[in-house]
Structure formats: C-alpha cells, structure tokens
Symmetry: C2
Amino acid sequence: MKRIADSTVRRLSLYLRFLEEFEEAGLTTVSSEELAARGGTTSAQVRKDLSFFGSFGKRGLGYSVNELTQRMRRILGLDRDWRIIIVGVGKIGAALAQYEGFRQRGFRVVALYDSDPGKVGRQIDGLTVRATDDLAEDNRERPVDIAVIAVPAEAAQRVVDQVIGAGIIGIMSFAPIQLHVPAEVTLNTVNMAMELERLSFALSNRE
Amino acid sequence: MKRIADSTVRRLSLYLRFLEEFEEAGLTTVSSEELAARGGTTSAQVRKDLSFFGSFGKRGLGYSVNELTQRMRRILGLDRDWRIIIVGVGKIGAALAQYEGFRQRGFRVVALYDSDPGKVGRQIDGLTVRATDDLAEDNRERPVDIAVIAVPAEAAQRVVDQVIGAGIIGIMSFAPIQLHVPAEVTLNTVNMAMELERLSFALSNRE
C-alpha cells in the first residue's frame, strides 16, 4: 500500500464518526458530497481519500453506510481490540486511564505503571498501579499492543526505551519532548502545548 | 497571507522546539539540513515552510538560531501572553489546569468553570472553580483569548455556544464530538481516541 499521509488518516477517522452518526439516524446510503459537507471538505477529496483503499460505492448511488462503516473500521484497525497500558499515573495519566472514549473504540487499558514507589499499589479505575520495572516481565506473560507515555519530559526517553525493550512497538506519548525510536516502532506524539500553538497561530494570523 | 496548512503549522511548532534546543546547546547558526535531520523531514521542506513567512537566513550561511527562534515565536503568536479558561473540571479539565507545558509557552489559565454546583467553589491549583453561567459577565469585565472545553460530548455544543455568546473566539475542545461554530471563531479539536486511531491505523497497515 502507498504511504498514507497523516492528514488523510485524520480525515478517515472523521468520516467514520460521520458514518456512525448517519447510521444512528437510520440512513442507508450516503454520497461523497454529504460526507464532504459534514466534514468541511470537498467531494473530490472524499473520493480521493477512499480510493487509497480500493473501490467503494456505485457511481450515482453513493456508498452503503453500513458497508463503508465496516470498511472504515477495518482500515483504521478498529475491527479488533487493542490492549493498552499507561505508563505514568500523574494527572494526565490518571485522567487518560478513565477516559471513556478509549473503551468505546476498543482500546482497553489493561495495566497502569509508575516508577514512584508512592504510587505503586494504588487503585485507579479498578486497576492496581504496577512498578515500571515490572513491564518487561508483564509483557512477556501477557503482551500488550500500545503503551501510552504520560511521564514528565525528562523521564520520557528512558521510559520509552524501557517500553521498547519490553517488546512493545506502538507508542503514544504525551510527554512534551521529541523522542527517538527505532524504525520498527510506531510513535504518535500528542503535545498539548503544540495544540494550543495551532490556535495561537490561527488567532494571530487572522485576516 | 496565504492559507497555511495545518501540517505546516505543526512543523513550525517542532522547528521552534529544535531551535530552542540548539540555542540551549549554544549553537548560533543552523542550516535547513540540520533542522530537517532533527525533524525527520527534508531541507527543501524546511525552506518551503519558512518561505511562507518571508526570507530567512543567508545562502550558504544558514539561519541565525536566535533570529529564527524569535521569528518563529512571533509567527506562532508566542510573543505575547494568552489568557485561557478551562470549562469543565472533570478529570481531563483538572489535569489540563495543572499542565506545566501551557505556562511555559505563555498560555496562562486565568479561570476555571463548571456547571456542576458540587464543583463550583472548589480550589484547583490556586483557582476557584466558577459557575459556567458567570462566563459572559466575567468575560465582559476581563476578556480572555481562548476557552478550553473539557466537558462531556453531550454538553459540548451547548457550552461552546455559551462561550461564543460570551465573546470568546478561540476554542480548543477535548470533547469527542464534531462542534459547529461560526466562521469568525477558530476551533481546534483534540480527540484522544482519534489520536489512538492514528496509531491503530499505522500498526494495522505495517508492511
């Protein structure tokens, strides 16, 4: 498959959300124009985005909402459960552990870790916080798919190295720092301050 | 100014971070190749990104780290303070209220709001939680720049309408729902589950 741009994947995620709304509203077919209108984009863009993944829909008849929903889920890897762990149960980590949106999408938080002995053993949302040093052994026994990193910037690279050493190849980081990972590891960084910068940029550069 | 793509703004934010690291390391000049290597992109991309904002650097001499840092800050709107409020002090909202990264970038959380009478009056990080209904009057007295929305999905559109009604035109939303805002309002949505979907997509579509 061709390399898909990040912005395309973001739009696919949005399309899936719209499709689910359409499904809930009882619609059975949808046109690329309708999807485009809902997402603030063009129908040509919608067709181009979908064309990466083979042929969808029938000319003039639009897409079957049900079929397209299923295929979007499969494309995004949402036709299965993902076992995720959260490393670092400070404020952000603890909030993420209880985030409803993850469960709804099949992202199951199966374990929490922290290196602070004062936090190890604590209960959060039905899970007992474990020591980060137990990660490698835990992952040998019951492998997980994704590690969410919610530790301070200065600890992040060390923790990420530990996570990778334990054999986990999917990483989502909330640490406000650029991390280095080997090519076989997939890393997605969410930086809250950078999200605010997108807004300060837009507000500063208004017409 | 031309419409700048979101992916460009994200890269500018990254360049600024690298420049700050270079500055801390005592470097005085940097080439587009060095910036590109640090950011996993190409030097042509770096030059193209920067060219949107006028001419930088001297051919063959690279960029002045100090000058480029200052101009990046100005471009991103970081040469000033931004007054932000957080609406909804559940787990995510309370975590954001205490997020260090905001303050470091000049995003000052000046007030917290919640519509739950059980939360109004509570102290979080030195701020007293106020009633969401006070927002309009508060904003008349001391206007803010950005409202961060951290309420449940089903309340989000109502709260956003209230925020816009109060005269706030910059919105960052963490609610997992598509919001509708008038053209003069700048909205940035951060959806945690969508961030995980970018990862499940990448992990599902590995070579």
